[in-house]
Assembly symmetry: C2
Homo-oligomer: 425 residues x 2
Amino acid sequence: MKNFLFLNKNEILEEYNKLLKVYENFKRKNIKLDMSRGKPGISQLDLSLDLLDTVNSKSDFIARGKIDVRNYGVCDGLEEMKDFISEVTGVNKDYFIVGGNSSLSMMFDAISFFMIHGSCGVEPWCKQKKIKFLCPSPGYDRHFRITEYFGMELVMIPMNSDGPDMDMVEQLVNKDASIKGIWCVPKYSNPGGVTYSDEVVRRFANLEPAAPDFKIFWDNAYFAHDLTPNTVPLLDIAEECNKLNKQEMPILFYSTSKITFPGSGIAFMACMGSNLENFKKMYSVKTVGFDKINQLRHVRFLKDRVNFFNHMKKHREILKPKFDIILNHLSSEFERNPILTWNVPKGGYFISVNTVSGCAKRTVQLCKEAGVNLTDAGASFPYGKDPEDSNIRLAPTFPSLNELECAIRLFCICVKLAFLEKNLY
Amino acid sequence: MKNFLFLNKNEILEEYNKLLKVYENFKRKNIKLDMSRGKPGISQLDLSLDLLDTVNSKSDFIARGKIDVRNYGVCDGLEEMKDFISEVTGVNKDYFIVGGNSSLSMMFDAISFFMIHGSCGVEPWCKQKKIKFLCPSPGYDRHFRITEYFGMELVMIPMNSDGPDMDMVEQLVNKDASIKGIWCVPKYSNPGGVTYSDEVVRRFANLEPAAPDFKIFWDNAYFAHDLTPNTVPLLDIAEECNKLNKQEMPILFYSTSKITFPGSGIAFMACMGSNLENFKKMYSVKTVGFDKINQLRHVRFLKDRVNFFNHMKKHREILKPKFDIILNHLSSEFERNPILTWNVPKGGYFISVNTVSGCAKRTVQLCKEAGVNLTDAGASFPYGKDPEDSNIRLAPTFPSLNELECAIRLFCICVKLAFLEKNLY
């Protein structure tokens, strides 16, 4: 195993030519693989098949309170659905609004609300001059795109191993009233797999924002998506804020998209004070109600805490070997050749890797040309631009084990090729 | 049968006392009935039970193009769903975006979009000073509430038997650039049951709005909801506008809420030009996709044009007797005692009645006190205020035939009592 950092020009050329041949061989295989998005694999989808049968033509359709779930009404969700989500997340039941199939939509709706109506006695965001949003990076591209879509300036915040750089967050938020919010994936973050430490969560709750209408968008998308038998604990931001009488600051989001069916799951929003009032009002104007049949399906299938975590264990048993293939290859190829570093996630859907500066785009391009689609380099950064051009998000959940084996072998070659190319002449 | 309009003071008192006794008898029955909303009845819901079985743990999940509907993606809807809705509505397939469970949400999203982003090269609505929206009345309360929620001024437009008063619409829209749109339920309107004539539809398409960003919100909620064997024809506003190169003006909405399950149906939006581009972009930012499993359920259950209209015929067979009970009672009680007038709808979900001026609120109150809930008087007008206090919306779809029989008898008594009360002294 050679350490590429210590090669001389001749050795670089030699290695390059050798690897190029292997790469060209790969190309001839006509592979077609997609490792670009955090999609559950088919065997994961199969775990929830029984959900489809829980409400059928022969079943009853009656939810608590004698509600026929087939008809109109119950805008903020079935009681038993709220009980369930509270039980598995530990968040106060009364904070929840049960939504449709997409938590991203609920985030979009919340931003829309603040844009048009404002909150906390301050002018609507659309009427304020320049407004900014903090984006801990690498982070979730779809979050950043929402705030970009609404014309906000995206401010990059570096991620540490225990959460966003809180010194920087405090410095910015507590001084600059044009900063209106921050995107957070507080557990097993996308893509870095970072879980915020208790200290980081407390520092969030203790923010003293210059903007009275500053909001923390707390997307707990991977709250139960462990890759190890022991979950990594996360403080409840709602209660931390509640203790400090900052009910207006946090808005929490959950979803069963990666628990049952992506696109046909249930989304949740949890918040307090005027946020809760405002969003309940908003949804009562926006819709007669979300899909209660699907809520009943979910309650009947997921049942309770014990059954739910048993279900998540089955997901883990499918996912763990997939992550292991990637991690094992990375270890054997780059442990002693540190032109690539990576995280070892304890949960979530991604492995975040860093090439040396300026090699990420080229690596992704080389993979693509040989038939393996990765997330665009830079996608995890505001405006899709990684200032270092070094971060790549690997999404090992969808492909089969064989496909992953093939994809990661190609990936390792491309990382090396991109590095060598850059140092060729 | 007395004509109350010709009673003298003594006769009024006599009639009043007589009816009051009947009313008090009703009260003692402890009735509890809801005729307030356009909810399908349980036997209508039962028509779609088989839909729940079309996708189950034993079925396949593959849509056209080898799409596994259980997973993420396909933001603007399954191809076969677009084919279906185009086939049954006659609207060009390419105009459609398939949404979630609520067409009301899509209307809200569209208004939200124009508020924040604007269109047709004009400033966003939230940045313009005063903006107004036309509300043909009586109309759908939830429409009016959306525009009220966004802070617009609601302008009442009278409804004629062939659609809104187009002289007034033209006069306002073609002169006042602060008028940004109009709400329309063009077929079997809520609550008046009016279908817009070809001339009215053409006059809509021929509007020359002072506002370049003027929009027609065309909620064709009852497009297939006939109460007679022959549907009442309606011109295609999209094509009428298209011919005149006014692609940016109309936005059409459809929904299966009153075809399969309210709250668990499929909503659709159809539009052209920049509207279509803008909304596709918006939804691609707002969500990874709508519920494709439910789309597949609907395609498999509703199948095609023939099957669909056969399904709607079953709805009609359930609804027709319900409407008949109400209409027969109204005829026998008020045909020769014209203190109440009403429409005879050929489709839709409502019967719209008019008391003499100033009697609607009191009638609804009397019904409520005897246990029958009607839609609030005035609800069908902007801000919930009927300037004449005369319109009441009757929603006969949800109660059983026996319940309706009871409710309409009470209603007729309350109409009379309210009239007599007003003329007592």
